[in-house]
């Protein structure tokens, strides 16, 4: 009886919220250019930063400090998840090995995923992609073999060192901007020739740091969650 009342109230709330949102979106213009900031940035991002991928220019040059905060949030979430799951001090995983197809494909995929992830990270200022996207692919490269061989031990130490180093590099580049350019995270080293791999100043370096950091963080996170879901370990815990 109480459950029915609750479901009814929830449905009423959702219908009301849906009507409100639809009414709001009806009044919203679509396909125009509602924000002047975006058009201004699109017009001058190339002269300012040298990056042909304007989303990257916004992310690293115009909103670099926000990106540092975002990386910090990801770091805090990964740390908290590691803390909740109990970290590396627990027993090794003892899952059953995966089937032949997954094992063969994991060995085959590993180098290609590494190359693709590195390519997307390094060309983040030129083409679609960047540190976050490439970092996710790098993390997948290291996680797929773990899926194929669940019993293999995970070296959390290397991931932690890479992650800490990459985060420090990001902050050091920001401080170099403070010294050399007068503001935190100001792009340095000149804009260069647009479209070249070595252009856009310090933006590719920032993306490289982000790619390494995101890759090591996500790989560590997924490995921890996968190990925590191991049934053998759950039995030992209870």
């Amino acid at each position: 009886m109480k459950g029915n009342a609750r479901a009814f109230a929830s449905a009423l709330f959702l219908i009301g919220l849906g009507l409100m949102l639809v009414t709001l979106f009806e009044a919203l213009p679509f396909g125009g250019a509602p924000m002047q900031v975006g058009q201004a940035i699109a017009g001058r991002a190339l002269e300012d930063t040298g990056a042909t991928n304007i989303v990257s220019a916004v992310l690293l040059a115009y909103r670099g400090l926000d990106t540092l905060g975002e990386v910090a949030i990801l770091f805090v979430a990964a740390t908290a998840a590691g803390l909740v799951l109990g970290g590396a001090g627990r027993a090794e995983a003892q899952g059953t090995p995966a089937g032949f197809i997954l094992r063969a494909a994991a060995a085959l995929l590993f180098p290609f995923l590494l190359v693709l992830g590195a390519y997307i990270v390094i060309h983040g200022h030129l083409t679609p992609g960047g540190g976050f996207q490439g970092g996710a692919i790098l993390a997948a490269a290291f996680f797929v073999p773990l899926l194929a061989h669940p019993a293999s031990p995970v070296n959390h130490g290397v991931a932690t060192v890479v992650e800490a180093f990459a985060g420090a590099v990001f902050v050091v580049i920001g401080l170099a901007g403070l010294v050399g350019g007068g503001a935190f995270l100001v792009p340095l080293l000149g804009a260069g020739t647009p479209g070249d791999l070595f252009s856009a100043g310090s933006l590719p370096l920032l993306y490289l740091a982000i790619g390494l950091k995101v890759g090591s963080e996500l790989a560590g996170l997924m490995a921890r969650i996968a190990a925590a879901g191991d049934p053998a370990r759950q039995g030992g815990k209870a």
Binding site: A7, F13, L14, Q39, V55, A228
Partner: protein, 156 residues
């Protein structure tokens, strides 16, 4: 463009509203913690879809410059700022999802169930609180076991 911009906008906004409502439903109605986490993911997707759609411009290209690398030659571009914002939101969403899943794994380990009512009842038994009060706390949409326990303690 094959589809009329007006139609496209309506479809995108309708999709965003549907995702948001589905996500909220998933967070409010089910009693399984895993479904509550998945509801949060759907809700985030809806908000992200809305933000990207808001930056759309009819007859404009993606904000990636190609040769000859001048903003004038590229013509109109869609708004890059919402895309960068959504990139940030997606990454933060991954962090939140990982933390939520870690908590779900721990709840499953500690209580052997993901049902919010069962977890709240068990918590009430272990802390010696009034089960009715704790159950009321658990009925709060998406309440985590910690919040339910606190409700029980704070009750007079």
């Amino acid at each position: 463009m094959t589809m009329d911009a007006e139609m496209l906008g309506k479809a995108l906004y309708a999709g965003a509203v549907c995702l948001v409502l589905l996500g909220l439903y998933g967070m409010v109605v089910p009693r399984n913690l895993m479904r509550i986490v998945l509801g949060l993911v759907l809700l985030e997707s809806g908000v992200n879809l809305f933000l990207v759609a808001a930056g759309f411009r009819a007859d404009a290209a993606a904000p990636i410059l190609t040769a000859p690398f001048t903003a004038q030659a590229a013509g109109p571009l869609v708004d890059p700022v919402p895309q960068a914002l959504v990139l940030t939101a997606i990454v933060i969403g991954v962090g939140v999802l990982a933390l939520g899943l870690a908590l779900v794994v721990r709840v499953k380990e500690a209580y052997g169930t993901l049902d919010t009512h069962a977890v709240a009842n068990r918590m009430a038994r272990e802390t010696g609180a009034d089960p009715a009060v704790t159950a009321a706390g658990a009925r709060t949409p998406g309440a985590l076991p910690v919040a339910a326990g606190r409700t029980a303690e704070d009750a007079p």
